[in-house]
């Protein structure tokens, strides 16, 4: 073992080299674990998206059937008064029934007739009524009208009901399938974009159900949440971070805020039920109450994010402002707050996105009710998107499966948009120095 002055001995070098190999191997292994984790996470995300899109994309289209509707004055307005109330009350379903009956004159038996009529959605009557109320001159005329088919027919057309199944196990009889096939042969059935899905409220009939009611409900609830949680949360964060003395009490408050952020959301729902509904007797199912409950849930998130953002403002900025004679409030308002604003906004948007996806607390305050009408204000009963998905997932009709998946896609689009906005704001307004 020769020892040259100023050089490592051979023994040390050997040991170092042997160790090096092990260290590099460990590093490679560690990176591999990381890669595997990321790949797994991405794979699961991919599977989730693929399955939702695969189930839901068909809900954006709908099959319509072409009917020659004769707007029979005898049925609509036998007295010829053209009174709006009479027009509104007339039996438009009969018009549709007659029209489909005329297409298949050979169907004579009552039971068969009923089976034939059930191919057309009950929504056809609403469409026809809307047409007549819109233009009473239609009465007496004959028009070609495309009306939605029943959800079972729609499912059959989309391939979800197989004609190979034994007749007793499917929702459409052999005869009904035969009629539908003939309608298709004549070119009387067409697949179109399902605008109703985006404009209608909930319905018992899958082919008539839409998410607009839930979107409006979500909008009002989130509006209430934002109006309550943002100012309160930001003021609390600013006070706690910039002005409050550090003592036992503020420590306790801080610990409790952190704990609140971890409370299961249904607890907030129970609180809302007990206090807002039972004690203050606010209306049930109202976005106002939903928004208040969600605000309670979002507050800790906003306060924590706000405090982190304020804490990240370098103290040198505060010193700079104070040293030119700014008062503490001026220091915060003119310098600290503007710098912290992107962080606060990001936290708020992420909190709001969480609130948008929240279901459990809203179940407790009755937003899970079946509500067809679209809310016109935060006091009208309404439901919200995630609860609508929950309701549809629970429904027995096959047609609601695709609706639930499609509504999930819409919800995801909103969530991704909100998170994108948060990232954009952070990138745009973040100041670097």
């Amino acid at each position: 073992m020769s020892e040259t002055p100023g050089r490592q001995t051979v023994a040390v070098t050997d040991r170092l080299n042997a160790g090096l190999k092990r260290r590099y191997a460990a590093e490679r292994r560690f990176r591999l674990y990381g890669l595997i984790s990321v790949a797994l996470a991405l794979a699961f995300l991919g599977i989730l998206f693929a399955s939702i899109i695969e189930k839901g994309y068909s809900a954006f289209t709908q099959h319509l059937v072409r009917l020659e509707i004769h707007f029979d004055p005898q049925l609509i307005d036998p007295e010829g008064t053209r009174d709006a109330r009479t027009l509104a009350r007339a039996d438009y379903a009969a018009l549709a029934k007659r029209a489909i009956g005329q297409l298949f004159p050979e169907v004579k038996k009552r039971r068969d007739k009923r089976a034939l009529r059930s191919l057309v959605s009950s929504g056809a009557a609403y469409d026809l009524r809307a047409m007549v109320l819109d233009d009473p001159a239609l009465i007496g005329a004959t028009r070609t009208v495309w009306v939605p088919v029943d959800d079972d027919v729609d499912m059959y057309m989309k391939g979800y009901i197989s004609p190979d199944l034994p007749e007793a196990e499917r929702r459409l009889s052999d005869a009904q399938i035969g009629w539908v096939d003939r309608l298709v042969d004549w070119g009387f059935v067409e697949k179109r974009f399902n605008a109703r899905f985006f404009t209608a409220g909930d319905s018992r009939e899958p082919e008539l159900a839409g998410i607009w009611g839930a979107v409006v409900g979500s909008f009002f609830a989130l509006l209430v949440t934002l109006l309550l949680a943002f100012p309160i949360g930001v003021m609390a964060a600013v006070y706690l971070e910039e002005f409050a003395p550090k003592n036992r009490l503020t420590d306790l408050i801080e610990v409790n805020i952190n704990n609140l952020a971890a409370v299961p959301s249904i607890i907030f729902g129970i609180l809302g039920l007990a206090v807002l509904l039972n004690f203050f007797e606010l209306p049930r199912s109202a976005p106002l109450v939903g928004g208040m409950v969600l605000a309670l849930m979002t507050l800790p998130t906003i306060i924590i994010a706000g405090r982190v953002a304020l804490k990240a403002v370098p103290p040198s900025i505060r010193e700079a402002a104070l040293s030119v004679g700014a008062s503490p409030v001026q220091t915060v308002l003119h310098h600290v707050f503007p710098i912290a604003m992107p962080g606060i906004l990001t936290g708020t948007i992420i909190g709001m996105a969480r609130a948008l996806g929240e279901t459990a607390p809203l179940l407790m305050i009755g937003m899970v009710a079946f509500i067809v009408d679209i809310a016109r204000g935060p006091l009208d009963p309404a439901t919200v998107l995630p609860v609508q998905i929950f309701i549809w997932s629970d429904a027995p009709e096959r047609g609601f499966v695709e609706k639930a998946a499609a509504a999930t896609m819409v919800l995801l689009v909103f969530l991704i948009a909100m998170n994108g906005l948060a990232i954009y704001l952070r990138q745009k307004f973040e100041k670097r120095w």
Binding site: E242, F243, V324, G325, Q330
Partner: protein
């Protein structure tokens, strides 16, 4: 953030209290600890007087019984090894220690004979009279113009826009920055180089027309050229302002200051004219520090 725990002394420590600000000069040289008295190099009156100043950070006694006079329109340098209390002392002069959690200041500091730790003193007004420049350049993340204009704006020093423009221009000129930035006043102050940023901070401090400028190691983050520029500037500013500077560089203290105070372990060891302190230090510790034996 604000735990204001400043103890205001009911009585100034009964050490030789010098005559009021207008006193004849010999009184301006204060005997400190080991009695370092000498013929005053300055014929001027003290602008600020510190008497028996003690500072505690929690249990840490950071500054021990410091008596020190700041002479008007001179540069006073505070030197000493790290942790000796020079920064703590300079922050006592404009009550910046108020914002530090758990910091307790006792003793007396007067500005033109008025106690600045009196409960009735408005800190905002005090800081308008005593500007400060920090170790690391800390311009606001706003435009160059707004950086300088901020102080005058909050104090309402300019009635109209023209006046404000005038203040900004003059301040930048005095800080020796105007020629470099006159065509880009709307650009962020943070886009300037380190030395320019520090001069911007000086411009910001003098924009409120203070009487005293405190500089806490203003050149420690700057290269030698930028440092030379700032030192030159200090020499010019001395015409109009009283300057207190904390520095780690003894050469800098020797170059820019008229008076030097040497701190060690929270004590003011020696204080006198810069020339005297550097050529004939009376205390061994001062001698050891300036000759580089420790510190």
């Amino acid at each position: 953030m604000l735990g204001l725990t400043v103890q205001v002394p009911t009585k100034v420590s009964d050490k030789a209290k010098p005559a009021p600000a207008t006193a004849p000069t010999p009184a301006a040289e204060v005997a400190v600890g080991a009695a370092v008295a000498e013929a005053a190099p300055s014929r001027r009156a003290p602008k600020m007087e510190a008497r028996g100043v003690n500072v505690f950070y929690g249990d840490n006694h950071a500054l021990k019984d410091v008596d020190l006079d700041i002479t008007v329109k001179e540069v006073t340098a505070l030197i000493g090894p790290s942790g000796c209390g020079k920064t703590t002392f300079i922050r006592c002069l404009n009550r910046m220690n108020d914002i530090i959690e758990g910091c307790v200041v006792s003793g007396s500091v007067t500005l033109d004979g008025d106690e600045i730790y009196d409960p009735g003193v408005d800190v905002v007004q005090l800081r308008a009279r005593i500007g400060m420049v920090f170790q690391k350049p800390n311009p606001f993340p706003k435009s160059i113009y707004d950086n300088v204009a901020y102080g005058p704006q909050i104090h309402g020093l300019a009635a109209v826009r023209d006046e404000l423009d005038q203040i900004v221009t003059t301040s930048l000129e005095r800080a020796g920055l105007y020629d470099e930035v006159y065509d880009r006043l709307d650009q962020p102050g943070t886009s300037l180089s380190g030395g320019q940023q520090q001069r911007l901070c000086i411009a910001r401090a003098i924009a409120v027309d203070p009487e005293i400028i405190l500089m806490d190691e203003p050149c420690s983050a700057l290269d030698p050229i930028a440092t030379a520029r700032i030192e030159e500037l200090m020499d010019e500013l001395r015409e109009n302002y009283t300057i207190v500077i904390v520095t780690h560089s003894m050469q800098q203290a020797a170059r820019v200051s008229q008076r030097t105070a040497f701190f060690h372990l929270g004590e003011l060891v020696e204080y006198g004219s810069t020339e005297r302190v550097f050529t004939r230090p009376r205390d061994e510790r001062t001698q050891g520090y300036i000759t580089g034996r420790f510190g």
